[in-house]
Amino acid sequence: MSKARFGALVAAVSLLVAGTVPVAAQDAEIPESIKVGAVVPLTGPFAGGGAQVERGYRYAIDAINEAGGVYVEEYGTSLPLELDLRDDESDPNRTTAILEDLNGEGVVAYLGGFGSPLHAAGTVIAEKNQIPYMGVATALQALHENGYRYYFSPFPKSPDIAVSVFEMLNALLPEGERPTRVGIFQESTDWGEELGAAWTEQAPNYGYEVVFHEKYTPGTTDFSDLIFKAQEAGVQALLSLPTPPDGFALFKQMGELGWKPEFSLVVRAADVPTWNDLGDVGDGVFLSAGWHPALGFEGIEPMNQRHIDEQGRPADPVVGGSYSLVQILADSIERAGTLDREAIRDAMAATDLDTVAGHITFREDGTSPIENPLMQRQDGAVQLIWPAEAATAEIRYPANE
């Protein structure tokens, strides 16, 4: 192609592009639905958790729509919720790009995915676009210390997790039998830094000693060095927060090297149902996923039954928290009486609601005063161990016997 022809082509395409720039149109009619945007990891390292989040959102939206939708005073009618759920591939940078797209689609609120890195990216976009954002499966307390107005998370945070594990052990195990020699395998991420520091700070307050504390890069495939060092240090209680692939690699190698401590808390990785594929080495592990169907809150039963019908097992831990977010959103829209994002945000901040995850209110920083249940995988089932009054099974300890 000659330069002249190329030039003419560039000019023509440029004019075409300029002429087709969309012009915003106003539509004053009653909308057919209430658009809600969700960005969830359905593929990538967090896919196992993302599948639970997706199920929670879907079940809740179906239940609310089957009950007639959400009444919006501004329009004098009830409208169904319409979920625009997209996969961010467990990539925080895809999260931000998708949330920008959803903003353009006119969603009234964002629902987040699974894992602190994805929520960390999402909350910033929510703040920029001034759209209320809710998320569970994220314990990163630091996100609530940024002064954000649009981020709400009814989920236990790092300080809650750090305290609850020691409280549970002290309450359920007699002195002298407790796993007082603690080892921390800390992921080199912002949440890893936060929770690692919280465990280190709280351990001595409850009579525990951190005898081993080392970092690793996410995506590490060889944990043998950490395992050998922890063994040498005489670690009895292993505390970790790996992504599911990292957690699987770690425990598989622990099995191969014949090391299983008396107590293990695996935040995040052990939440996914496929954890059972690890067999003996994964059994007896504790998880901290924020919810369990045995907590017995209002509305759990029909949701749990649907999960059993579809999946053949009680609702997975993250399903309940995700379900509650849609309940909170529907309630906020109803109280706001409008689809205005700012009004919905204000109503959300004033939430005072019974949900499948318990009674929810929000603090000024968007966190919620919510108890941190701890579960243990026992023979493939997820048993609620803490709080003791709702426990479905006794603690199995030591786990390596």
Binding site: K3, S14, A18, T96, G104, V124, T217
Partner: protein, 316 residues
């Protein structure tokens, strides 16, 4: 006459780009445009070392990443943006000069692997040193508009393309291309091979840092290690090959095609964008090694040939 039309076309394209943010407030349109400009700047910068000097660097993300982290850290610490950008560009160019001396003594695949290894090592180190997300302060977030990042990204693209244009017509640029075509022959006729490679490497790195600075100013949040990841190097090489390696227009056309195509595929066939462009890359390398530019030239030649044939038929 043809030259005048070509110059006019460039100005029309630039004018459209300048007018766009004033005629549309659609954040999706502006985001796509900004992403295209940043990728154009990055691809054009890689084109200098890869297309002009013939050194296939697989570690370009390291320079892009350095541009982002230096610009972002200084700017968020309160330094003026131009100063932050300038510091990033100068530091990255110096870094490229320092590592370029030993690295450019490698040839072919050894140079490529060396740059890839270096970039991966830097990426992992940055991930460990800066584990937390980098976000703009709340006040800046609420006041955020696309206009300023848009013009910085456009400026980065225009600057990079302009430097590539000037370089291609310069003695230094001709020396780089001589090295690309035959190192031994270039050396035999008096071209300082290492100096020309080093110049291409440093200029390329400095312009990648400029693109990184634009990314740092545009993005409200990201993990600091993200711009250092190999995906930036591979996307850069992909769009340069798809557009037309060694040409001025190629990286621009390839970037626009890639960004728009990626979003279109992602929106309609979620999850298939990576494999889609992977297949496209293979097809281009096998069938149209000169990319979109060569493809357009072939189509143009075919149209002209058909036109001449019809003219002969009519006259006959």
């Amino acid at each position: 006459m043809r030259r005048n039309v070509s110059v006019a076309a460039w100005f029309v394209l630039l004018a459209v780009c300048i007018v766009l943010p004033f005629s549309s407030e659609d954040s999706q349109v502006l985001t796509i445009a900004i992403q295209t400009f940043i990728l154009t700047a990055l691809a054009s910068s890689w084109n200098i070392i890869g297309g002009f000097a013939g050194q296939i660097s697989l570690g370009h993300a390291a320079f892009f990443g350095m541009g982002t982290i230096i610009t972002r850290e200084l700017w968020l610490s309160g330094a003026p943006l131009p100063l932050s950008l300038a510091a990033a560009i100068v530091a990255t160019a110096l870094f490229a000069l320092i590592i370029g001396v030993p690295m450019l003594r490698f040839r072919g695949i050894y140079f490529s692997i060396g740059t890839l290894a270096l970039a991966v090592a830097i990426s992992l180190t940055i991930g460990n040193l800066f584990p937390g997300i980098t976000s703009m302060p709340v006040e800046a977030l609420r006041a955020y508009t696309f206009t300023d990042p848009y013009f910085l990204a456009l400026g980065a693209a225009v600057t990079t393309v302009a430097v590539a244009m000037l370089l291609r017509r310069s003695v230094v640029g001709l020396g780089m291309m001589a090295v690309r075509d035959d190192e031994a022959a270039a050396g035999a006729v008096g071209v300082d091979v290492l100096a020309h490679k080093l110049a291409a490497f440093a200029i390329s790195a400095a312009l990648a840092a400029l693109a990184g600075g634009a990314f740092a100013f545009f993005s409200v949040s990201y993990y600091p290690s993200y711009p250092f990841t190999a995906v930036w190097s591979f996307e850069t090489i992909l769009v340069t090959f798809v557009g037309g390696i060694g040409t001025i227009v190629g990286p621009i056309a390839g970037s626009a095609f890639f960004v728009i195509g990626r979003d279109t595929i992602a929106a309609n066939f979620e999850g298939f964008q990576v494999i889609g462009f992977g297949v496209l890359f293979i097809v281009v390398v096998l069938l149209v090694p000169g990319g979109m530019v060569e493809g357009a030239q072939r189509i143009g030649a075919w149209v002209v040939k058909q036109g001449q044939g019809r003219k002969r038929d009519v006259e006959g």
